[in-house]
Symmetry: C2
Subunit: 367 residues, 2 copies
């Protein structure tokens, strides 16, 4: 009996030690690169843990929405200095995450972090350093511009905003014309997402500097024309946005930028809801775009589209989404004779790291 108890105690110790080892958090936390200037928190460590510190001395409860899935985020504990602190229970996926702070039942942002439009609100953002972060880093290479334009939209009776990435050199050689990728954000985001969260401009600058992609323009505009409501996606009507994009924005861009204004030099892509929009608009309007890209945004079946219209179908998602669905669709499209390419982002979910990597993979295949 004594031996049995001893054995049990030993087993417990071993298990305990193993757990404590695997949970050991390295104290190499640094401010997130998405912090407001001069702000020390939130921080991230080399393992991907995130640590928060928020001042609210008289609050009863402070939680951060970021944390391991399904556990309601991270509960902060109040220190004697009036600051609430806490660390995620485990490492977070690499890349960019939206989050917010619950203070006594109200939804606020972390005063230390910069804000990014997502979930139909300006949210806090945090960056978990990724092993491949070099491809979207700000480097000492020639930089293109991100140009804010206000284009007339008779159908919505206003001037609408878009951002246009123009590659380095665009403003030097005035005889050169460029193909264009129309690139859409996801639900609850807006036309700022692909630059601010996605670093689309830096991805292109770096690819171009390495000679890995042809230079092209990227046009990013707001993909919703309906009133914005949670749950509104179910009744989403593509027509108003399709009109803005195809009948208003494309002619404006072709008139005001040096584009090659034909189907063969025009691509459309989008993430999540933007993929859904891409899929619907490319099916509704064959002959406008020749390269289609759905990033975590659904798939095509061979019957959806016609081979004479499409030079490339690019389908991608994170390995934590539904990679099998992408692979099956790409296989079916290939069997039917399409130039289809699938890409699975390893270790990422329905988040911007998946889409940054997707753009990095997509760009060299275009035009």
């Amino acid at each position: 009996m004594k031996i049995k108890l001893m054995a049990l105690a030993f087993t417990c110790c071993v298990v305990g030690a193993a757990q404590s080892d695997s949970k050991k958090i390295k104290e190499d936390f640094k401010p997130s690169t998405k912090n407001q200037p001069g702000k020390e928190y939130p921080q991230v460590n080399s393992q991907g843990y995130a640590r928060f510190r928020i001042e609210a001395p008289a609050a009863d409860s402070v939680r951060v929405s970021l944390g391991l899935g399904g556990r309601g985020g991270t509960k902060l504990e109040k220190g004697e200095d009036g600051f609430w602190m806490g660390t995620t229970e485990g490492p977070m996926d690499e890349g960019f995450h939206y989050y917010h702070v619950d203070v006594d039942g109200g939804t606020f942002n972390d005063p230390g972090a910069k804000n990014y439009y997502g979930s139909v609100r300006w949210e806090s953002g945090i960056e978990i350093p990724a092993h491949d972060q070099e491809f979207y880093a700000l480097k000492d290479v020639p930089h293109g511009k991100v140009e804010q334009i206000l284009f007339p939209s008779p159908s919505t009776n206003t001037s609408r905003r878009a951002f246009v990435y123009t590659p380095p050199g665009y403003h030097k050689d005035q005889s050169k014309r460029y193909p264009v990728l129309y690139l859409q954000h996801g639900w609850g985001e807006d036309e700022t997402a692909w630059s601010n969260q996605g670093h689309a401009n830096l991805i292109m600058d770096n690819l171009i500097a390495e000679g890995k992609t042809k230079p092209f323009l990227i046009v990013m505009t707001y993909g919703m024309t309906n009133e914005i409501k949670f749950g509104g996606l179910r009744n989403f009507d593509i027509k108003p946005f399709q009109t803005v994009l195809v009948d208003e924005l494309i002619p404006y861009v072709d008139q005001n930028f040096r584009t090659v204004a034909d189907e063969n030099h025009r691509a459309m892509g989008g993430l999540s809801m933007g993929g859904m929009e891409t899929r619907t608009i490319t099916m509704n309007k064959p002959g406008v775009f020749s390269h289609y890209a759905l990033l975590s945004g659904g798939v095509y079946s061979p019957d959806d589209i016609k081979k004479e219209d499409v030079k490339l179908v690019f389908l991608s998602c994170g390995s934590k989404e539904s990679p099998e669905r992408i692979k099956e669709s790409v296989a079916a499209l290939k069997s039917a004779g399409y130039n289809a390419v699938g890409y699975i982002s390893e270790g990422t979910a329905h988040e911007f790291q998946t889409w940054r990597r997707s753009l990095y993979e997509l760009a060299p295949l275009l035009f």
Copy 2:
């Protein structure tokens, strides 16, 4: 005695009625134009009162920093629905205001409002409709662009960001060259301020559409190179920023935009700290700029500058600042033979409405 008491009571009633009349708040509140999409609060009414509504059901205290001067902002009252509401004690000045929310001793932003970089943090913003708001409204006129550039800065060992306003038509007539205004933000703000808070691009679009100003470029960059700290302005060293501006940004702009690259076609202006920077740099570096503009940013004495270097000195401030100082300086400069123009913004203080109006007055005088 009875009569005396009656008279007193009457007097009290009259005073009471007058007070209650003058304090009568019109219930024509509408969402602020600076709200996040779809958000109903904060609201403003036609008298300039601001009303806030913030959810924080378990909080003990919610205050908004905006309110009448010196009274610590506006204290919100908790309703049974868990939302805290409150209205400013009086009307606010016309135009844009920064504010934030104190929730149980912590500083947060209003989840209903968009964020603007000011006070060395991303703050909430609210817009009190101004009687003259048409001059910075988004209208159905040709729109210029706001182009984000990343320019190499060897002195700070990074790529720095600037925004360049290019007027409508800039990208059409490739033979035309343009003068440039370098326009600086205030302390605690950054290179986004003049577009986001100031609507500099819309002010120019509207002026150009009405034929009231020559088209020119506006370059807006970050005016601080030091570590950002409250109180850091006292030890502010202009040299690092002067190097970035004069030795790095100006040559980059002259190489990458179609500018008239000489002193006569180059202006510098700035608001508040940006005015201080303008004053110092124009004095340190005669021969670089020919038009100087200090918006709530100090004054020149005739001995500070030389008549052969300067075609225009523009000095402005709000009527609630120190207008006498501006008027005296302009008078002294004029007596000394300078082309000096003063402008006082009626009914505004050290805030963006003063600077929007100042730009509107300044632009037609330039070049």
